[in-house]
Symmetry: C2
Subunit: 278 residues, 2 copies
C-alpha cells in the first residue's frame, strides 16, 4: 500500500469544532491542508460571500458541504420545509464551489416506528431535489450512517442500500448522485468490498476517515483519530482507489471527550501525522 | 396481526439480572412464564444437576443456553481453549435440555484490525464444533450482533452473513445450525424481510425481543422494554411466523440504568403486560 497523497488531505471542519469557519480556513492554510468540508451553521455565521471569498483566495478545495437531507417528517408541511431547506443547501454548496452536498438522510419522525415509510420518504425527497441539484451541477452524496443511528439520524445504513437508491434515481450514473463512504459507518459491513467496487468512480463522491474506538462510549460523539482504533484504514483506502476514487481523504471526527477538547492546532498536527501513517 | 401466544413467552434470565438462576426459575413459575433461557455463569453457580432438576420439575422449556462462541483469539492456544469451552457449553446445553446453544461469535482479538481474519476464525470455529453439536443433538444458533458490537463482541453482524455461514457449513439445513433473530440487532437491516424468509423454519432457532430506545446511551447495556422504543415488533414477529417459526418469544433486556435496577418481580409483570400488547 503506497502512503496517501499529502495533497489529498481534507479537514471536515467539525473536527475542529472550537473554530469558526474563518479560523478553520486559516488553520488549513497554516498547516498546509488543501481541502476543507464546511458545515452550514458555520457558513451562515461567517456569511456566504465572505466565506466564498476566503475559500477561493486561499485556494482551498471545498470537498463538501454538510449537510442536506433530513427528509422524513411527520406531515406534509414538514416534508415541504425539508425540501426547501435542501434547495437552499444546494444553492449554498454551489456558491462556495463544493464538490458535493452531503446528505444525512434523516431517521424516523418522532413517535414513528415506520422505518420502511421513512426510507420511502427519503427516496421521494432525493427524487424531488435531484433536478435542482443537476441544474446547479451539484453532486448529491448519500452518506449511509451506521445502523446505530438508524432511528434518529439516517435510515440509509449500508452502502448497498445507498447504491440501490442511486441506481433507482440516477440509472445512467451521470455523476449527479453518489455516495459518501465514511469508514466509521461502513467498516463493519461484510459487503464493503463488493459495494465499493459496485459504486465505481462515478458514484464515489467522498471518503471520510477517522477510527472506531474500543470501547466506544457514545453513539454519535466518540470517534477516534486514525490509528487509535480498529479500522483497517489502508485497506479501505485501497478499495476506494481500486474502484477509481481519486478524491480527497477527509478527516471527520466527532469527539466530545477528546479531540473537541484540545487546541485545534494540535488536532491538525495530529491529523497530518496520522494521515501520513495510514 | 394476532396477539402473541402467552404460552410462548420466555424469559432470558439476564433480564432479571439480580436473580440467581434458582430465583429466576421460581419467578417464571410464579408469573406463569413457560420458557427460560439460561446463562452459563448462573448455571455453574447453581450447579448443573440442581438446575436440571429444578427446570424439569417445574416444566419449563429451556429456550436456550447463553452462550457459546467467542472463537477468535490471538494464537492457537487461545483458539483451542475456545473450542474446549464450546464443547463444555454443548454438554451443558444438552444436560439442561436446551433447545439451542446461542453463539455470540466474538470480535477481533485485542490489538487486531483484521476483521476478515476474525470472521474466518469464526467460520473455522463453528465448523470444528458442529460435529460435536450434532452428536449431542444440540442446535447451534448463530446470533448476528448489531454492527456497533462488531469490534469487541461479534463479527457476524447481519442475518444474511449468518445465513451464508449456515449454508456453507450445513448446506442440507438439517436443523443442526441456524440463527437467533434478536430484534435489537437486526431491526434496522434493509434486508431483514428477505433474510428471515430465506432462513425459513429450519434455520430460525430463536426470536429475542426488547426495544431500541431513542436516545440510546450505551452500546451494550441500554435496551428498552417492548413498547418503549422504535422497533416495529409485531411486524418482525409476523415475518418470523410467516417464515414458519413456531418457537418462543424470548425477552432479553440488558438495561443498566433501568430494568436491572428494578425489583425483578416488577420486571416480569411489565414484561408479561408488554408482551400481550405487542
Amino acid at each position: 500500500m503506497t502512503p496517501p497523497d499529502p495533497a489529498l488531505l481534507s479537514l471536515n471542519a467539525i473536527t475542529t469544532k472550537k473554530w469558526t469557519l474563518a479560523e478553520a480556513i486559516d488553520g488549513c492554510v497554516r498547516h498546509g491542508i488543501g481541502g476543507i468540508t464546511v458545515w452550514r451553521d458555520r457558513l451562515q455565521e461567517m456569511g456566504l460571500a465572505a466565506a466564498t471569498k476566503a475559500l477561493r483566495a486561499n485556494g482551498l478545495a471545498v470537498t463538501g458541504l454538510c449537510r442536506g437531507g433530513m427528509f422524513p417528517a411527520a406531515d406534509a408541511a414538514g416534508r415541504r420545509a425539508s425540501i426547501e431547506d435542501n434547495y437552499r443547501a444546494i444553492d449554498e454548496a454551489q456558491a462556495i464551489g463544493a464538490r458535493c452536498l452531503i446528505l444525512v438522510v434523516g431517521g424516523m419522525p418522532p413517535g414513528s416506528r415506520d422505518l420502511a415509510g421513512a426510507r420511502e420518504q427519503v427516496k421521494e425527497g432525493i427524487a424531488t431535489i435531484l433536478g435542482r441539484a443537476r441544474e446547479a451541477n451539484m453532486p448529491l452524496a448519500i452518506e449511509p450512517l451506521h445502523p446505530m443511528q438508524a432511528a434518529d439520524r439516517a435510515c440509509i445504513n449500508t452502502l448497498g442500500q445507498a447504491l440501490d437508491l442511486c441506481d433507482l434515481l440516477d440509472p445512467q450514473a451521470t455523476g449527479a448522485l453518489g455516495v459518501a463512504v465514511d469508514v466509521y459507518h461502513v467498516w463493519w459491513d461484510p459487503q464493503l468490498e463488493a459495494q465499493i467496487a459496485r459504486a465505481g468512480a462515478k458514484r464515489l463522491l467522498a471518503h471520510h476517515i477517522c477510527d472506531w474506538l474500543v470501547p466506544t462510549t457514545d453513539l454519535a460523539f466518540d470517534r477516534g483519530m486514525m490509528g487509535d482504533g480498529v479500522i483497517d484504514l489502508p485497506r479501505i483506502r485501497g478499495l476506494m482507489e481500486k474502484a477509481g476514487y481519486r478524491g480527497y481523504n477527509e478527516v471527520e471526527i466527532f469527539s466530545q471527550r477528546d479531540w473537541w477538547q484540545r487546541d485545534p492546532d494540535e488536532v491538525l498536527r495530529a491529523m497530518k501525522q496520522r494521515y501520513a501513517a495510514c
